[in-house]
């Protein structure tokens, strides 16, 4: 092969990290292309979807709950997209290892990239729903303040948290397919104990028992949803309590995820 370009570039990645990063980028791009190929509105759906959900929920819940939260639609959409980021990413991650079986059986590849791929892909979609948020803010004339610089922190922690869950679930599913069904039930229940369409004050007003309050407050998604609303809607710094809740959950989940995944990943190939 007499060619002139040989040697101009290094052919192979220097280390596993560099390789995994490029593989991840390619896999996420692949997901994105396949999702929107042949859809007429394409990427616009990622913006439309949260907007339409917000409209429906606003109509239902503003009459049903008689909510007196100001800018209720903005309150709703922020809660909704934050919760969806977690639920979309983890529900895709559940089957990520199983779905990658053809690859895992034939190609040498670090297994953790598959759950991580699904979580990053959900983040890409999330970026589009932020456009929807911007539209709603424009509509209600809410001008973002500098508190918005907290956004990367909030998303970073949520990503770490989701990757932790994704690692656990994807590994567990290899051995027990029940996890797929179980997780969809958990997500529904989790949605109800997360203040997406109701707010914490409502529980206090109605005299909810203290154990309910404790569960809601320990709920990591309560932390992330509140974090998001604090910086966009209420335009204030997240409280130290919220910051601690999010950080602790993210770290605990990631460590737990890594331990479970590391312990089981060597046996995947025998079960997929």
């Amino acid at each position: 092969m007499a060619d002139t370009t040989e040697g101009t570039f290094v052919s192979h990645a220097r280390n596993d990290f560099e390789k995994d990063l490029f593989v991840l980028k390619q896999l996420v791009t692949k997901d994105f292309k396949i999702k929107y190929r042949r859809s007429f509105l394409g990427v616009a759906w990622s913006v439309l979807n949260p907007l339409l959900m917000m409209v429906v929920m606003s109509i239902v819940f503003s009459t049903l709950l008689g909510s007196n939260i100001e800018n209720f639609p903005l309150y709703l959409i922020l809660g909704n997209i934050t919760y969806s980021l977690m639920s979309d990413s983890t529900s895709k991650a559940v089957t990520s290892i199983l779905d990658a079986a053809p690859l895992l059986k034939k190609v040498k590849i670090d297994r953790f990239v598959f759950p991580v791929q699904k979580i990053l892909f959900a983040l890409v979609n999330f970026a589009f729903s932020l456009i929807a948020v911007a539209i709603v803010m424009l509509w209600f004339r809410v001008v973002p303040t500098w508190h918005i610089i907290w956004l990367p922190v909030c998303l970073g922690l949520l990503m770490v948290f989701c990757i932790g869950i994704g690692l656990v679930l994807s590994a567990a599913t290899v051995f027990f397919r029940d996890v797929i069904h179980l997780w969809s039930v958990v997500l529904t229940a989790w949605n109800y104990i997360t203040p997406v369409f109701w707010d914490f004050q409502m529980l206090l007003d109605r005299g909810a028992p203290s154990w309910t309050l404790a569960i809601v407050k320990a709920n990591p998604m309560y932390g992330f949803v509140t974090f998001m609303r604090d910086i966009v809607l209420w335009q204030q710094n997240p409280s130290l309590g919220i910051l601690a809740l999010c950080t602790v959950w993210a770290v605990v989940m990631l460590v737990f995820g890594i331990i479970v995944f590391r312990k089981t990943e060597h046996k995947f190939i025998l079960y997929i």
């Binding site: 092969m1 060619d3 370009t5 040989e6 101009t8 570039f9 290094v10 052919s11 192979h12 990645a13 220097r14 280390n15 560099e18 390789k19 490029f22 593989v23 980028k25 390619q26 896999l27 791009t29 692949k30 292309k33 396949i34 190929r37 053809p102 690859l103 895992l104 059986k105 034939k106 190609v107 040498k108 590849i109 051995f175 027990f176 397919r177 029940d178 312990k263 060597h266 046996k267 190939i269 025998l270 079960y271």
Partner: protein
């Protein structure tokens, strides 16, 4: 089943003088042959309670050891189901050995199953990048070699067509072209040359021959055609039912291999 305790090591730098490119040391590969696969919690607990969780083990490889020097061309022979492909997959890093260790020095171009890692919904162009990433290439490198890959595969007019519209031969061409666009340190060839038309087969064999002549590329070669092994390789390893039967110069091993049928 206990987690595998085997070790797989792959270094990115090619073997230095005095080092082996591939070292297979006492490798055993055990597969579970559960009479039924338990993928569901209820079944698992019932079986656990009744103490019916037996797994019969199947040993695809039993204490196999061999070493390959850099630049050697080694053929693996054996009948169907003897463990050749398992051996190749362990060396390529796809399977982890249950026991023993496998050390590989240098980057690997695995031509084990051409087209593994392709997504049929994506176009050839997109697949070249995806597959290149899986092989460990950098983006810049694929950019610079893109035309060369397409040219070798002779698919210039179809680059932006989804792969599902390709014939299997066309898919194999692309896969071969990507894996061999740069000189690998170790080339693993598993019956891949049987796909594609005669002209492309010839082209592939020429390229492999070119690697062999360079003297730097270590080649592991599996083929059912014993003549092809004799033609291409200097040394052969005979694996039968998971046991290493013989390891030596290609004509001696191939002679012995043939004699078992006589």
């Amino acid at each position: 089943m206990a987690a595998p305790t085997g070790i797989y090591r792959q270094y990115n730098t090619p073997a230095a003088a005095g080092e082996y490119a591939i070292e297979v040391d006492d490798v055993t590969m055990i597969f579970n042959m559960a009479s039924e696969q338990l993928n569901n919690l209820k079944e698992y607990f019932i079986k656990l309670m009744r103490r019916e969780l037996f797994f019969s083990e199947f040993r695809a490889l039993k204490h196999v050891s061999f070493k390959v020097k850099r630049g050697d061309v080694v053929g693996l022979v054996g009948t169907n189901g003897s463990g050749k492909s398992t051996m190749l997959k362990i060396i390529a890093g796809v399977l982890e050995p249950s026991e023993g260790s496998c050390t590989v020095r240098g980057n690997i171009a695995p031509l084990i199953e051409l087209g593994a890692g392709f997504d049929m919904e994506l176009t050839a162009r997109e697949n070249i990048y995806l597959n290149g990433a899986l092989l460990g290439y950098t983006k810049k490198f694929i950019d610079s070699k893109f035309d060369e890959i397409v040219e070798f595969a002779e698919l210039r007019d179809f680059v932006d067509m989804p792969l599902k519209n390709y014939s299997s031969g066309m898919v194999a061409r692309i896969a071969f072209a990507i894996a061999t666009i740069t000189e690998p340190d170790i080339l693993i060839v598993d019956e891949t040359l049987s796909v594609g038309d005669v002209f492309f087969q010839q082209k592939c064999e020429e390229r492999i021959q070119h690697f062999i002549e360079s003297g730097d590329v270590t080649v592991l070669f599996v083929s059912h055609s014993i003549e092809q092994v004799e033609r291409i390789c200097q040394r052969a390893v005979w694996i039968e039912k998971g046991d290493l039967r013989m390891d030596g110069p290609v004509d001696e091993v191939c002679q012995a291999y043939r004699n078992q049928f006589a």
